[in-house]
């Protein structure tokens, strides 16, 4: 047996002492326990704060790498300390060497590996990998000389949490564009709201609340009265907000005529007065308004109007499905008559403003075939006051002038409250961080307040990553417009994949998913490859250095499916697999292979141990001493000696 007491005295220097200590079993036990505790704590952190957080603050952190590094040093030192190894150390050596190889493989993967995603809808082609953890701000502008568009990319890793208020990140300056992240929310919610526009542009807007009989609001919505007003349905109930161009129209809407002629009644509003005429009696007749200031002629009655040729309307039949009046308004002061129309169904749809001029006479056409929708209609009179009528049981009921927060009865079931009125509304977009544990959080992309400085212009704006609407913005600078887009960092594949079809298999009877598969077309010009392949669950596609795995899918609104593949390149794979095999084989050898002869049978070893006890420091063969000290019978924990009992 080769004995370690024969080692040169060189080993006894301080550095070697340290090395021996680092490789000692005691340190190993302490490290194993420490690592277990840290890992257990990390899983608890993960279950509270989420996967991303644990990855960032524990598993990917430097101190965790350091802990693993110390473990690696311990294993390495322990292996070296036992040199020369001898036959019976084979199991030990292979196992611990395997661990080192495995860790080396992990380092390779961590440093040089690529993990990303490819997401595409059916028909789309992808030639880039999206790197999920890395954010990218891309500034694009036109070169003023050549007209070419120039892109500048700023990449950063924002981490898994909202940034503290004071944290800022300067992304530097490239080709005259400087970017800085001033605020960052890891999971953001966008809220669009309407606020009073101080510039006095913008249409009136109204916020109403829908409440139960107990007065508790369960829904609120905005209505904005732009040119044609706004309309929305909540369930079967219609809500509408309109701006009235003439004060006299108020009475017309709140108290529409009853017991109408079969072809309806036309209300004409001129100079603050309303005049109602029966259509059938006045068809083709010229009527005077304002003591001869205006003349109105009902040119044509179309019971079921539809657009015809050359801007004319035609009627598709005699059934009054969409009654329309063609009107001609003439003024003695004007040479050309004004053409106007009045729909019974759409009282605010007419030619006003269409040809660049407004008709001085306003019309409202009431038709008996048009039964009121079940709903609530708000009107803003020219003096700014809001009025309301309710369509109920086929009739309109006036609710008169509406005060803020005053409940309006609709039916027995619920009430409507006008909560807010803006005379000129402007849309404002705000970003909020999402609370931890909120259900929407999982899918919510981050948002950042970005400060752009370019050529003397400095501007701050919010962007939400990959958002179709708020993911990019156009900033006007002295050097021309710059487009800023917030997305993920990407990497070119070097070839492209087109999603032909995403197939989802269901279990018999449509219960649960049975399989996912993406049929793709792989196109690689450099290798003259253009062929169809299938990527399915547990059947990845490898091409070049990348492997594509079926990860998830989305059903798009247009009926197509989008497939999401995860992409990986792992340069440490061979080392990891090799290390793994070494570990398994090594443990098996250590526990179950008996070496007899040179290198020591059990009895020899134990004799050796006995003799060591009185001789030297126990450190160098501490495990053997420990065994010997524990049991006079000399059984070994390697399980080599067998004594039958019973």
């Amino acid at each position: 047996m080769v004995d370690r007491f024969d080692r040169p005295s060189l080993w006894k220097t301080a550095g070697k002492e340290l090395f021996l200590f680092l490789g000692s079993l005691k340190v190993a036990v302490v490290l194993l326990v420490m690592l277990s505790v840290v890992l257990a704590w990390a899983t608890v952190v993960e279950s509270i704060k989420g996967r991303e957080y644990a990855q960032w603050y524990v598993y990917q952190s430097r101190w965790f790498s350091a802990l693993l590094g110390i473990l690696a040093i311990n294993i390495f030192a322990a292996t070296v300390n036992r040199f020369p190894w001898g036959k019976r150390r084979i199991g030990f050596l292979v196992t611990h060497g395997g661990l080192l190889v495995l860790l080396a493989g992990a380092i390779f993967t961590y440093r040089y590996g690529i993990e990303g995603q490819v997401g595409f809808a059916e028909g789309q082609t992808a030639d880039r990998i999206t790197l999920i953890d890395r954010s990218l701000l891309r500034a694009t502008r036109q070169d003023q000389g050549t007209g070419e568009s120039i892109s500048t990319e700023f990449v950063f890793e924002p981490g898994p949490v909202d940034w503290p208020p004071k944290k800022r990140l300067s992304l530097g300056e490239m080709s005259g564009i400087g970017l800085e992240i001033v605020k960052f929310y890891r999971h953001a919610r966008v809220e669009e709201d309407w606020v009073e526009d101080p510039s006095g542009r913008g249409s009136p807007a109204l916020r109403f609340e829908l409440a139960g009989t107990d007065g508790r609001a369960f829904r609120e919505e905005w209505l904005v009265a732009d040119q044609f007003g706004s309309q929305m349905f909540i369930g079967p109930v219609k809500f509408e907000f309109q701006r009235l161009p003439a004060q006299s129209m108020l009475d017309d809407f709140l108290n529409p005529p009853k017991d109408m002629d079969p072809d309806g009644v036309l209300s004409m509003h001129f100079e603050g007065r309303m005049e109602r005429v029966a259509v059938r009696e006045h068809l083709g007749k010229k009527m005077s308004l304002g003591a001869g200031k205006m003349f109105v002629e009902i040119v044509e009655y179309l019971p079921n109007a539809a657009p015809g040729t050359a801007g004319k309307f035609i009627s598709r039949g005699q059934e009054p499905a969409n009654p329309l009046l063609e009107l001609r308004v003439t003024s003695p002061e004007r040479d050309r008559p004004i053409r106007q129309i009045a729909f019974a169904k759409f009282p605010f749809l007419n030619f006003d403003g269409v040809h660049g001029r407004d008709c001085p006479v306003k019309f409202v056409y009431h038709h008996p075939a048009m039964t009121p929708d079940f709903g609530v209609e708000f009107f803003q009179a020219p003096d700014g006051q809001i009025y309301c009528r309710v369509g109920l049981n086929g009739r309109y009921e006036s609710r008169g002038a509406v005060a803020k927060r005053q409940p309006i009865d609709v039916a027995g079931q619920f009430q409507v409250v006008v909560a807010d009125v803006l005379s000129h509304a402007r849309r404002e977009v705000s970003f909020y961080p999402l609370e931890l544990g909120s259900g929407e959080r999982r899918a919510a992309e981050p948002a950042a307040l970005v400060r752009l400085s370019a050529g003397g212009t400095t501007e701050e704006f919010w962007l939400q990553r990959n958002h179709p609407k708020f993911g990019q913005t156009m900033i006007q600078t002295q050097q021309g417009p710059i487009e800023i887009r917030f997305g993920n960092d990407e990497l070119p594949l070097g070839f492209s994949l087109q999603l032909i079809r995403f197939q989802r298999g269901l279990n018999p009877g449509r219960v649960g998913n049975a399989s996912f598969a993406s049929r793709v077309r792989l196109m690689d010009a450099s290798r003259q490859i253009d062929e169809e392949r299938v990527i399915s669950m547990n059947k990845p596609l490898t091409h070049g250095r990348y492997t594509f795995y079926q990860s998830s899918f989305q059903e798009l609104e247009d009926g197509r499916s989008a497939s999401i593949l995860s992409v990986a390149y792992d340069p440490g794979r061979f080392l990891k697999y090799f290390g793994s095999i070494m570990i398994c084989v090594g443990i098996a050898v250590m526990f179950y292979v008996r070496f007899v002869g040179k290198g020591g049978s059990v009895s020899q070893r134990n004799t050796q141990v006995q003799s060591e006890r009185g001789l030297g420091p126990p450190r160098q063969s501490e495990e053997l001493v420990a065994i010997a000290s524990r049991s006079g019978k000399g059984h070994s924990p390697t399980g080599v000696d067998v004594a039958r009992i019973g």
Binding site: S47, P508, M537, S551, I583, E622, A626, G639
Partner: protein, 599 residues
């Protein structure tokens, strides 16, 4: 296993194991049990559907007719509920309105008023105004129950409240509301089952998703675009009415005749219309349901435990021999059970908590028998039999937590060699650690009993050590195989997923123990205590990640419940260890040993 002999043995020794189906001697339910149905994404015999339905609704294997007092086996009960549904007569006239949350048939019958819905969660009982020891509620009571909304404090109907709660389901609900949803779901299932909506009996030809037609659709005339050129469906409909009429008239002869006519029509028409399972496979599943091999297994294992333990005390050889034989029988029963499950499901039976618990029992028994064959020590046998018994009893008696039903797999778990080897070696390592736990407990028992025989302690320590070695090797291999699977399926070898991390923690924990023993920090007593304590790491990796932490990629294995039992069991174990170690310390055995070794 020969059927009559097995019955004889079991009914002699264990009267409770006489679980013959149904006592309606005259009504023949046998052909019904073997009828193919489609349910939960797979084809199964009606027998399984009936068992599963009764288990979900009321956790019973049979029902008692509230009027006649007759005991009905699962299939008999299921069909009785179906045939006696008061809605059939209107349904036959084409009125198959959806049952919704309230019965569409106006009148409540005896079953609606019977306690068919089990409420296990105490807070839910309280909410529903049930007394703490009242386990069952009738569907009628539930549909009429009013509760006080725990959030607003207002009086409201239970079902309306549940409907409101269900809208917030994806945000994550408190336990009470989850349990309430579950109960309301069971109530809706009760209505659906009674109305024949869940009894799908015939394939729809050419259906892309292999959908089947349910009895409700058949009787309600909603044939899902199926044209009935051959008049098969009309025939089936007519025969079903005949069966029902015969059943209601209590005429066993007429019922049996009508039944066999109805069933043979289905069995003839089925394969012509679409995918229809083979009768032999269905029969296999009926046999599996009937024989419950894992129940035999625990009964045998328990007997083996007592006999071998007794032989340890008395040194009477025949006891030992019979004990070993029984343990071998138990092992064989488990093998048979696994064989049947594999044959029925067509996949390796290691995909849910139930199967892994049973697999642990199998593994422990295997190691127990192998070690026994090598060492003939009897301690290992006792430990293995005890662990096997406990695991199998748990699996057999907690269907709410360990669901024994066979379900289709998630796509990522399908046809995957690495998954199977990974799970099998990990679970096998748990079995080895469970064996170490058993032997460790016996060792602590010897310390408690002040037995100072160093031979026994040394032998026990060696066995503990051997079990730990097997466990460490398998756990290391299994964890690595898990990495291989993850690499193969997801493209990453290791991602610090909680399940991965806990498997690693368990491995590190046991490695720390083995290394500490090399250092000399752990003696015999310590090894015994640690082999028990470290099993907590296995429990955490195996159960805790899914049920306590509830996070990570392995979520398809997730379920809920049982925490109380697991914590109590762990607390008792730790208490036992603490007492044993304290006693040993007080006796100074440990100290003396230390002094000896230092001297």
């Amino acid at each position: 296993m020969h059927k009559p002999i097995a019955i004889a043995i079991v009914s002699l020794v264990f009267p409770l194991a006489a679980f013959a189906e149904g006592s309606q001697a005259s009504f023949d339910w046998e052909p019904w049990r073997r009828l193919a149905v489609q349910d939960g994404g797979r084809y199964k015999p009606l027998d399984t559907l009936a068992w599963e339905t009764l288990r979900t609704l009321c956790n019973r294997a049979s029902l008692v007719d509230p009027e006649s007092g007759e005991k009905l086996g699962a299939t008999a009960a299921y069909l009785t509920l179906l045939f006696e549904w008061p809605g059939w007569d209107s349904a036959a006239q084409g009125d198959a309105r959806p049952a919704g949350l309230f019965p569409s048939h106006g009148s409540l019958d005896k079953w609606d008023k019977a306690g068919l819905l089990r409420v296990d969660y105490l807070e839910l009982r309280d909410l529903l105004g049930m007394s703490a020891d009242q386990k069952y509620l009738s569907p009628a009571e539930l549909s009429q129950a009013t509760i006080r909304d725990p959030r607003s404090g207002r009086e409201t109907s239970f079902l309306l409240w549940v409907r409101k709660v269900s809208r917030e389901e994806d945000r994550g609900l408190p336990t009470l509301e989850r349990k309430a949803l579950e109960l309301a779901g069971n109530y809706a299932e009760y209505l659906n089952h009674r109305a024949g909506k869940r009894l799908a009996i015939l394939p729809i030809p050419g259906n892309e998703h292999h959908e089947w037609l349910s009895v409700a659709e058949l009787m309600g005339g909603d044939l899902k675009g199926l044209d009935d050129a051959q008049g098969t469906l009309a025939k089936v409909r007519e025969q079903f009415q005949k069966v029902r009429a015969a059943f209601l008239s209590k005429s066993a002869e007429a019922f049996n005749a009508a039944s066999s006519e109805f069933i043979s029509t289905l069995q003839e028409a089925g394969p012509k219309l679409g995918v229809y399972p083979s009768q032999s496979k269905l029969d296999l599943e009926v046999a599996y349901n009937h024989w419950v091999p894992f129940r035999f297994a625990w009964i045998f294992a328990m007997l083996a435990f007592f006999l071998v333990a007794l032989s340890l005390g008395t040194n009477w050889k025949p006891l030992y021999a019979v004990g070993v034989a029984l343990f071998v029988l138990s092992f064989a029963a488990m093998l048979a059970g696994f064989g049947l499950r594999i044959a029925i499901s067509g996949r390796a039976p290691v995909t849910n908590m139930y199967e892994s618990v049973v697999y642990l029992a199998l593994g422990t028994a295997l190691f127990g028998l192998v070690f026994e064959a090598i060492y003939r020590s009897r301690y290992i046998m006792v430990a293995a039999a005890a662990v096997t018994t406990v695991a199998l009893i748990l699996a057999d008696n907690s269907p709410a937590i360990l669901d024994p039903s066979l379900k289709p797999l998630q796509p990522v778990l399908r046809s995957n060699f690495w998954l199977v080897t990974h799970v099998m070696s990990i679970t096998l390592s748990y079995a080895a650690f469970a064996l170490a736990l058993g032997v460790g407990n016996i060792t602590l028992g010897y310390y408690l009993a002040r037995s100072r025989d160093p031979n026994i302690i040394a032998a026990l320590t060696r066995f503990t050590y051997k079990a730990l070695q097997v466990g460490v090797l398998l756990l290391a291999a299994g964890t690595i195989l898990g990495g291989v699977w993850a690499d193969y399926s997801w493209g990453r070898f290791w991602g610090w997923d909680p399940k991965e991390v806990w498997a690693l923690i368990a491995l590190l924990g046991y490695l720390a123990v083995l290394h500490a023993r090399y250092v000399g920090w752990v003696n015999e007593l310590g090894l015994a205590a640690l082999s028990v304590v470290c099993f907590a790491l296995v429990i955490m990796a195996w159960y805790g990640v899914n049920f306590v932490l509830g996070a990570g990629l392995h979520s398809y294995g997730f379920g809920g419940g049982g925490q109380g039992y697991v914590y109590s069991a762990m607390a008792i174990q730790l208490l036992y260890v603490a007492v044993a170690v304290t006693v040993a310390w007080l006796r100074g055995a440990h100290k003396r040993q230390l002094e000896e070794s230092i001297a």
